[in-house]
């Protein structure tokens, strides 16, 4: 018999079959292990992917030299203007004698050179309009000025890109007369608009000239007609060193040799007004560089000790525009020789006389990078339109091309979490405002109001949810009759499955108007419900004994009472309103200085509270229900009332479970998106007022993510919000889970 079995088992086909089964087993084991581990890794990947997208925000900027060559045609004279075009292929140098030299940034090879003015005309000053417009002007010895604009035309020959430099003359090839007396123009500034154009100049005999040119194109023959208005201001002793006209052509800033800036209103070119004169550098120092930040709102003042300060007009209490110092950078220690603003961001670079170059960002208040470029002084530098290349000229006659890797300068600890003084605001504020209509816009990336809104929403939701859920769980787990519990538990758990989009929709479109109309009723409900229930309970003891109620049917008896009380609260709410608030509680609130929005934190609190009640309820209920029976029986046997047992024994034992329920509830409230999105106005404010709205991190992601440009700072910041939410909820959930596991072990040991 035994042999028979062995021989059958040892037949070759059986052995083969057995081997095959073993192989299958091993395959199954390995593939399961592999599959299981890879799925778990895939889940964990979420965290690392979020981190991977966020990380570039934290990477430091870097710069490296790509090329250095002698200044092209140095013998033609000093540089007054350097530029680099969009694609970083061509550079432009304009000399003090109005010669334009276009060269390749790769090797300094000259592509085109042009004299913009005849040799015999002497240039006495040079001006540059704002960085993005590339409009330049030369002031001449005879009181005239020539406006030019270098243009880089991009054409394609097949797949090959060809960039052709060109000079255009927006105001005509003939210089415009600025000074009727024919004095040399020692300083000049220019701004061109669609029709209005302004040139400001200082003459050799120290007069400040204002000239407005209105350009009109005739409809009939498209001929250009230029009309001129002008006025002048005698400057007496003051010696002007810098002129800066903003692109709106309404405000002029003039820097003198004593370190003062004059703020002049030039809205009317015939009657300019000096509004303010303010010292912008410490006594004894000079203004060595003066430039606008992109947008022409902020002034950047570089002084002879390497400080750079940012100034802009701030409205004071008397509604006057006052030039105010906003922030200062002091990273360099030699005189600032030039400042070049980025065209599309609020960043800039500055060169100093010690051969150093500094890279800054104004909103972030951060000095991003300091690089030593050469041993001798740097004379000027310019940053490319895409802010990825700098062209730097030094005193020794070298022109250097540096690559800049600085993708997210807007982000710093202070710009994300601190108060920031944004352009055109009266004081430092927390603002989230990411959308940009144009490149002048200063993105406001303060996460604080979003964080605040998140916590505010969660707070009001917990305020509603905690009492209802925990008290309800106490009753359900401990006092309720089992047959009723079987009905109630699933009913409340069903609510957990209710899509939040539906709660949000009801909150926004149904509840919010009701709360607005019946505001006193809502508050009356808070008083009526507990008092009414207590009153009913007091009366109930006089009702002939109903044993089924004391055996755990209180809730069922209370349902009609609650409905009745709610109805009563809303019905009398208005009488209370007349009694206490003069008939209109909303109006009364507004009179007290409390703003009221229809979609406010109260509505969010109620809706989100409802959404998290089931979650807190079921965990608490589980914790209380699984308190070992011998503990409670012992307590009752010793003569404690059920309520004393509840308070002294059950709650104490189950408190870690209740704690973990609250933690999980907070996690859910913080991450909830749709309810907040629909039930509030989504305004990012920093006000804890229950009658005002809020904007949470999650709703912000849902609103802005689809429109966010991939890999931009905004995109990465939204990922950062996601990461913050992830870590936050993960932390709370883990905490809750650990506490719960401890509790379970404790119960099993009891």
């Amino acid at each position: 018999m035994n042999n028979l079995i062995t021989s059958t088992l040892n037949q070759p086909n059986v052995i083969r079959h057995r081997k095959w089964r073993m192989i299958k087993d091993r395959i199954a084991k390995h593939s399961m292990t592999f599959g299981g581990i890879s799925i778990i890794i895939a889940i964990v990947l979420i965290f690392f992917y979020l981190l991977y997208v966020v990380l570039p925000l934290l990477l430091p900027a870097s710069m490296k030299e790509i090329q250095a060559f002698p200044i092209p045609l140095k013998e033609y004279g000093e540089t007054v203007y350097l530029a680099i075009e969009e694609k970083n292929v061509l550079g432009l140098r304009i000399t003090e004698h109005a010669q334009a030299i276009f060269f390749q940034t790769r090797d300094g090879k000259i592509v085109l050179e042009r004299s913009l003015l005849p040799k015999e005309i002497k240039v006495t000053s040079f001006a540059m309009a704002n960085a993005g417009s590339h409009v330049l002007a030369f002031g001449l010895q005879d009181g005239r000025a020539l406006v030019i604009k270098p243009v880089f035309k991009i054409t394609y020959e097949g797949d090959l890109r060809v960039i052709t430099p060109e000079i255009v003359y927006p105001m005509g090839e003939e210089p415009l007369t600025i000074d009727d007396r024919g004095q040399a123009l020692t300083h000049l500034d220019v701004q061109l608009g669609d029709e209005e154009n302004t040139l400001i100049a200082v003459t050799a005999d120290n007069r400040l000239l204002f000239s407005g040119f209105t350009k009109t194109v005739s409809f009939f023959d498209e001929s250009v007609n230029i009309e001129k208005v002008n006025s002048e201001l005698a400057l007496q002793q003051a010696k002007i060193e810098h002129l800066l006209l903003e692109k709106g052509q309404k405000t002029l800033y003039v820097a003198d040799d004593k370190g003062q800036i004059w703020h002049i209103d030039v809205t009317d070119k015939t009657a300019p007004q000096i509004l303010q004169r303010v010292r912008v550098v410490p006594a004894g120092l000079k203004i060595t560089a003066l430039e606008f930040l992109t947008g022409d709102i902020s002034l950047l003042v570089g002084d002879s000790e390497g400080r750079i300060s940012q100034w802009f007009l701030v409205r004071d209490e008397k509604n006057n525009q006052v030039l105010t110092k906003i922030r200062e950078f002091h990273e360099q220690d030699q005189a600032i020789t030039s400042i070049s603003s980025e065209e599309r961001r609020k960043g800039f670079l500055a060169t100093d006389a010690g051969g150093k170059l500094g890279l800054y960002h104004s909103t972030a208040h951060e000095s991003i990078l300091q690089v030593s470029i050469s041993a001798g002084p740097l004379t000027r530098a310019v940053i490319s339109p895409r802010a990825d290349t700098a062209l730097i000229e030094d005193k020794e006659g070298l022109l250097k091309v540096w690559h800049i890797e600085n993708r997210h300068p807007e982000v710093s600890l202070s710009s994300l979490w601190g108060k920031v003084w944004y352009e055109s605001h009266e004081q430092p504020k927390y603002i989230w405002q990411s959308s940009a209509a144009n490149s002048d816009f200063e993105p406001k990336f303060s996460l604080t109001p979003l964080m605040f809104g998140t916590l505010k929403g969660a707070f009001y939701a917990m305020l509603i949810a905690i009492p209802l859920a925990i008290l309800g769980a106490l009753y359900t787990a401990y006092f309720m009759s089992p047959s009723m519990r079987k009905l109630v538990k699933p009913t409340i758990e069903i609510m957990e499955a209710l899509p939040t989009v539906i709660l949000g929709f009801l909150a926004g479109l149904w509840l919010a108007p009701i709360v607005e109309t019946h505001l006193p009723g809502v508050f009356a409900l808070l008083i009526f419900l507990p008092l009414g229930v207590l009153g009913f309970a007091y009366l109930w003891q006089f009702v002939p004994k109903q044993h089924w109620v004391s055996e755990g049917w209180h809730s069922a008896v209370l349902i009609p009472v609650i409905i009745l009380l709610s109805w009563a609260a809303f019905a009398t709410g208005h009488s209370l309103e007349i009694l206490l608030f003069g008939g209109d509680m909303r109006q009364w609130l507004t009179d007290q200085g409390i703003d009221f929005d229809q979609r406010n934190a109260l509505v969010v609190g109620i809706a989100m509270g409802l959404a998290i009640i089931p979650c807190i309820f079921s965990i608490t209920e589980d914790a209380i229900f699984s308190v070992p029976k011998h503990l409670t029986s012992g307590s009752l046997a010793l003569g404690a009332t059920p309520w004393q047992t509840m308070i002294r024994i059950v709650i104490l034992t189950a408190s870690p479970g209740i704690f973990s329920a609250v933690m999980i509830g907070i996690g859910r409230a913080v991450g909830e998106t749709m309810i907040v999105l629909m039930a509030t106005g989504n305004t990012a404010i920093m006000d804890f007022n229950i009658f005002e709205g809020l904007r949470t991190l999650s709703a912000n992601i849902a609103v802005e993510m689809p429109e966010s440009e991939v890999n931009s700072t905004h995109y990465r910041l939204l990922f950062l919000s996601g990461l913050v939410l992830f870590i936050f909820t993960f932390f709370f959930n883990t905490l809750a889970e650990i506490v719960r596991q401890r509790l379970r072990r404790k119960y099993s040991s009891l």
Binding site: I46, F536, G722
Partner: protein
């Protein structure tokens, strides 16, 4: 107060009981609110006619109003000082007057005090559902054929239904031609263009191919022109009839029948007719495409999109969840690491859904989708194929979101299977894989089912991540159609939950859209509650079953 009663703790017990009652009342109230509003939407409402004073100071200057009462509201009289009244509350009505194209707005709030008479409900008022401009209310005057009046008064109404039937048939035909036949040609033309571009990129676009493509193109264009001609004729046919009706301000308005979906006399309908109408409307709601920026018509594309998304998600999530759970429970060495993983997986279920959306957009759409496009669809670039939100990415994102649910549920099921069963199987000589496949998994299948159902319920209600990875307010075509490869995973789709958000909050005419949102919400709630109840039922059944096993 009775001190003993107070000290007994009885009042506190009543208070805790009240918390339960409140929660139950709220759940009940919410569900019934949605049910009543959602179901009530389809019932034909009476259309009233009444004169009202536009300006309260001048009660004699009245205007005729025809419309449905949509809402009745009580406002404390103290807030409206301009109305003198004794009562504490004032009543105001939201009246849907329709005729947006003629009156400018289709809703108006009117105080009860403004009404100068009791409203009447004339039986011959007609309500017209139109393809554009919302509902129309008025009195039918005449029917015109090619601009000539063919019937008037009483006859007009009987005549109308015949003619309307004809136009509706024509309309169906044109829709079929436009959507399916022309749509197919357009799709093929696009494929041809892409084929050509692909050849160009591969430098294989030679004379032979050129001729081939040109010929195909001509054929397609030819049939396109034929269809377009048919369409023109159909459209002319449809334009033949029109009706003339008088609106509330006395103007006579002509409406081409081709713009009409349905005409009825709400005040003249009997209960049976109303019920029939109700069923038709419910059917339309479930099976038709939306009209008028989603505020009218049906939600079929949203239902279909939701179902497809959930379906694909289930196909992905089930094996993933089951494999991970089996690994954790049956293969992995139980220790600190597995415990940590278990906690982590559990907690992932608590991570906000919108975070998954962010991940899905960045990783699936831009990273994986973008890469796929570069490798497989270079001819379409720079227009993205998979590098843009779409069905597959939404399904994948939700699969990741719900995989913890399946893992947890499956693990629970596995842990409930008594080890005696495993040991028995192994003792009989089965390998571990065989034990797993033949005994453990079949026994755990109800648990897997429960996990899957819970996952589906969660996925069907989730909106926030979908807004980032593939949902749109109006998808031009369904994800499944008659063009190869039939299932278009890269397309964007519509979703019930997003539909609620979009129509309720982004719609230009929220007032008109609101009833539809309630109906949509009702449908979504019903589906999710049914799914959850099923899951609970399966779970309970499962527990009973294993209880029985343990006692054996």
């Amino acid at each position: 107060m009775n001190n003993g009663w107070w000290r007994s703790g009885e009042p506190w017990i009543w208070l805790t009981a009240a918390a339960v009652s409140i929660s139950v009342v709220v759940v009940g109230a919410l569900l019934s609110l949605i049910a009543v509003r959602g179901l009530g939407h389809f019932w034909p409402k009476a259309v009233m006619e009444v004169n009202y004073a536009v300006d309260l100071k001048n009660p004699n200057n009245t205007v005729r109003l025809i419309g449905e009462i949509r809402e009745i509201e009580s406002v404390p009289s103290t807030r409206v000082p301009e109305i003198k009244t004794e009562g504490e509350w004032l009543t105001r009505y939201l009246i849907k007057t329709g005729n947006r194209d003629h009156l400018g707005l289709d809703f108006r709030w009117i105080w009860e005090a403004q009404l100068s008479q009791t409203p009447s409900y004339p039986e011959n008022i007609i309500a017209v559902e139109r393809r554009e401009w919302g509902n129309f209310y008025g009195y039918l005057l005449a029917i015109k054929e090619n601009g000539q009046i063919v019937s008037e008064g009483e006859n007009a109404w009987t005549d109308l239904s015949e003619r309307l039937k004809r136009v509706l048939t024509l309309h169906q035909e044109t829709v079929h031609i436009e959507k399916f036949e022309i749509g197919k040609i357009n799709y093929e033309l696009e494929q041809l263009r892409l084929y050509q571009r692909r050849l160009e990129l591969a430098n294989a676009y030679d004379a032979v191919k050129q001729a081939e493509i040109a010929q195909d193109k001509t054929e397609l264009e030819h049939s396109y022109r034929q269809l377009a001609d048919t369409l023109v004729i159909r459209y002319q046919d449809m334009q033949r009839d029109s009706l003339v009706a008088q609106i509330m301000d006395g103007r006579e308005v002509e409406i081409p029948l081709s713009k009409i979906v349905r005409v009825y006399q709400p005040n003249a309908m009997s209960l049976v007719e109303k019920s029939g109408f109700y069923l038709t409307k419910v059917g339309e709601f479930l099976w038709d495409d939306p009209r008028e920026a989603n505020t009218e018509g049906g939600i079929f594309p949203a239902i279909f999109g939701t179902v497809m998304m959930v379906f694909i998600m289930s196909i992905i999530v089930t094996p993933f969840g089951v494999i991970a759970a089996v690994y954790l429970r049956e293969y992995a060495k139980q220790g600190f690491l597995t415990r940590t993983i278990r906690v982590a997986v559990n907690n992932l279920a608590g991570v906000p859904a919108v975070v998954y959306g962010v991940f899905g957009l960045g990783f699936f759409v831009y990273f994986i989708g973008g890469t796929l496009d570069q490798i497989f669809y270079p001819e379409v670039l720079p227009a993205p194929t998979f590098g843009t939100p779409g069905l597959i990415w939404a399904s994948l994102t939700l699969a990741i979101l719900t995989v913890p649910v399946v893992i947890v549920s499956t693990e629970e099921g596995l842990s409930r299977i008594p080890s005696s069963i495993r040991e028995g199987s192994l003792a009989l000589g089965a390998t571990k894989a065989e034990t797993l496949w033949r005994t453990i998994l079949p026994m755990a299948s109800p648990a897997i089912m429960t996990g899957l159902i819970l996952a589906i319920a969660r996925a069907a209600g989730e909106v926030a991540p979908l807004m980032l990875v593939g949902v749109v307010k109006l998808a031009p075509s369904l994800v499944v159609d008659a063009n190869y490869p039939f299932l278009h995973l890269e397309r964007k789709f519509m979703h019930l939950g997003f539909h609620i958000y979009d129509v309720g909050f982004q719609s230009p005419n929220v007032e008109a859209a609101r009833p539809l949102v309630y109906a949509t919400a009702l449908l979504l709630v019903a589906v999710i509650i049914i799914l959850n109840l099923t899951a609970i039922a399966i779970r309970n059944h499962l527990r009973e079953k294993y209880k029985a096993l343990e006692t054996v």
